[in-house]
């Protein structure tokens, strides 16, 4: 399945590759501040399921969802059917968009994801999307370094395509515990100059973690994009900051609603005015400027947070 991500013409890979080699300083127009379309709620029918290592990639017919969706945005799926005891929706990063078809990569976690993994072509699910804020585009001309842990690579094929189309060189570091938890290694190869793979058990690529290979690749990059578990994001953010590079992280906080009404998914983020606040990752994220995320304070209530004083007075 081709993933076009709202790029009107399909990306010509050969041309993109050519551009990458000649890329370094192609001047680009400033990135337009795209207005995000409102999410829609649809009955989405599974058109195709394919195995992707330990994961499965579902392609769903979801009219209107993909129209203006961007890499980094996500969808939520209702799970368990009509009389389900699982009330809350599950969030998944969009891994591809092709007209009315959107795709997601699903890893088995608990009962909700297991239910999804039992679905097959023809089954219908309640889908809402696109949700959240996408990855921004990097400053003109620079090379982008994409860093993923496991299924965190889901948004990166689309992102690499967009970056290529805009004339950016791309390198990717894909890490996982084991080889079967890597995603998109082959899909990313033609879109990148370098794909570096790490596994913790050595079953593919280099033995170790993504952070072990970053020191080699960071010097050539002008922006870093990371998606994966929170400890990985925190480590990548620190390495990018040490090199003075902008870093965009897509966080994965537990969500109850995914649309901004419940205040479950918050994390401490430094605002434009310098004040920190608990910010909703579903509507103000999941992509954040890593320099603004207070990783050390996730799961805590720092005293300088906006409104923290009122908590001491009465909890």
């Amino acid at each position: 399945m081709s993933r076009t991500w709202g790029i009107t013409q399909a990306v010509d890979l050969a041309e993109a590759q050519q551009r990458m080699t000649a890329m370094m300083s192609i001047p680009l127009p400033p990135v337009p501040n795209v207005k995000l379309l409102k999410p829609v709620q649809v009955r989405a029918q599974i058109v195709h399921v394919r195995a992707a290592g330990a994961y499965r990639e579902l392609a769903l017919h979801a009219p209107g969802v993909g129209v203006d969706a961007r890499p980094g945005q996500f969808v939520t799926l209702g799970v368990g059917g009509e009389s389900s005891a699982l009330l809350l929706r599950r969030a998944f990063a969009l891994s591809g968009v092709d007209g009315n078809v959107v795709s997601v990569v699903v890893a088995a976690h608990g009962p909700g994801t297991r239910w999804i993994l039992e679905r097959g072509a023809g089954d219908v699910m309640d889908l809402i999307g696109p949700l959240g804020r996408p990855f921004p585009e990097p400053p003109p001309g620079g090379a982008a370094l994409l860093v993923a842990g496991g299924y965190g690579a889901a948004p990166f094929v689309g992102l690499a395509q967009r970056l290529n189309a805009a004339g950016h060189a791309v390198a990717a570091v894909l890490g996982a515990a084991t080889a079967d938890r890597l995603y998109a290694v082959h899909d990313l190869a033609p879109l990148t100059q370098v794909v570096s793979v790490t596994t913790e058990d050595g079953s593919a690529g280099r033995t170790g973690r993504v952070t072990d290979v970053l020191p080699e690749l960071l010097p050539g990059a002008s922006a870093v994009y990371a998606c994966g578990p929170m400890p990985m994001l925190r480590a990548v953010a620190a390495q990018a900051a040490a090199c003075g590079l902008p870093c965009h992280v897509s966080v994965e906080e537990a969500m109850a609603c995914g649309i901004g009404v419940c205040m479950t998914c918050v994390l401490p983020v430094i605002g434009d005015d310098g004040t920190s606040a608990f910010v909703r990752s579903c509507v103000d994220g999941p992509v954040f400027d890593a320099a603004k995320v207070r990783f050390d304070d996730i799961g805590r209530l720092p005293g300088d947070l906006h409104g923290a004083g009122a908590m001491r007075a009465n909890t």
């Binding site: 709620q41 009330l87 109850a256 419940c262 805590r300 908590m311 009465n314």
Partner: protein, 314 residues
């Protein structure tokens, strides 16, 4: 299908629930806010509140536990941004207020007085009273009554609903105390205090340890509360809530004595739920021969032995 909030007529008996719809705006893509009975807004306090640390949520069988801790912008920002947006959108707001002292509730009510878009005030008394070693107002009829009297005095005109906690021995005595102090109606129920322990970390899942249980898991408890309050105070309007996910659930609350219902947790699974439930409730009422929602209020309290089918033309 019209309903009433106190003396105010609203176009539907289905409302959102406080804390489950923010201030309405985020639901705008998913339903017609103007067609709801009202948007019940997240409990607002005098000052901005950060809320509690994460994790703030744990899914439980047919329910969820939350420990949001009333995160919110404070009344100034609410009056500057949230309420005007709802008013401009043409939606009705039932504004939920919360505080740590009687005077805070009174000040909130006077700040809200006459605000455009405001159709009613819901007083969330499931909050610790800082002047009484943190005892929750809703657990003490005297404290609950002091709050409601202060709110009533601050705004004599607006419909005021007292929102009760089910975590009490005798919910009727709290309801009666609130009504005697000037509450026009009762909202029932707030969440029940619960706990989930993570068997990997061997610690509570929520950073705050305990949290409020909501969703279908609490529906029978909520329904029992509405039933008891209606039986004791048959002329007091009740906004019923707790685990409503469809029209049949909503109908149960009406039959138990609620004159309108709030839909909370179900919105997280289906942001269109309040609109859908309104439609389903209308169908369920019509199916049982009720031409108006008000005819069904408390209908389950009638003596046993009479037919379950209500015929207005019979």
């Amino acid at each position: 299908m019209r309903a009433r909030l106190g003396a105010t007529t609203i176009p539907s008996p289905v409302l959102t629930a406080s804390g489950c719809a923010a201030a309405g705006r985020e639901l705008d893509p998913f339903l017609d806010l103007t067609a709801l009975g009202a948007v019940v807004t997240k409990s607002v306090q005098l000052r901005a509140r950060s809320g509690r640390p994460t994790p703030r949520m744990a899914e439980t069988p047919s329910g969820m536990l939350n420990s949001i801790g009333l995160q919110g912008p404070g009344i100034d920002a609410f009056l500057a941004k949230d309420l005007p947006w709802l008013a401009a959108r043409g939606a009705r707001a039932m504004v939920s207020i919360a505080g740590g002292a009687v005077e805070e509730y009174a000040e909130l009510a006077s700040r809200l007085r006459g605000a455009a878009g405001l159709v009613a005030v819901e007083v969330n008394i499931s909050c610790p009273n800082v002047e009484s070693r943190g005892e929750v107002f809703a657990c003490d009829p005297a404290a609950a009554s002091a709050v409601l009297a202060a709110v009533r005095a601050a705004d004599p005109g607006v419909p005021v609903y007292a929102k009760l906690s089910p975590d009490v021995t005798d919910i009727v005595s709290v309801a009666r105390a609130c009504v005697d102090s000037g509450a026009d109606g009762i909202s029932a129920i707030n969440t029940l205090l619960g706990l989930v322990i993570d068997t990997d970390t061997l610690r509570p899942v929520l950073a705050a340890e305990t949290g409020g249980l909501s969703g279908p898991a609490i529906r029978p408890v909520a329904l029992r509360c509405v039933w008891q309050i209606h039986r004791a105070l048959p002329n007091t309007p009740i906004l019923g809530m707790g685990g409503i996910t469809n029209g049949a659930d909503a109908l149960q609350f009406i039959l138990a004595g609620a004159s309108a219902v709030s839909v909370g947790t179900a919105v997280f699974g289906d942001p269109n739920a309040p609109e859908r439930i309104g439609r389903e409730l209308a169908g369920a009422l019509a199916g049982k021969g009720f031409s108006r929602c008000s005819d069904a209020i408390g209908y389950a309290h009638r003596a046993p032995g009479r037919t379950g089918v209500h015929r207005v033309d019979a």
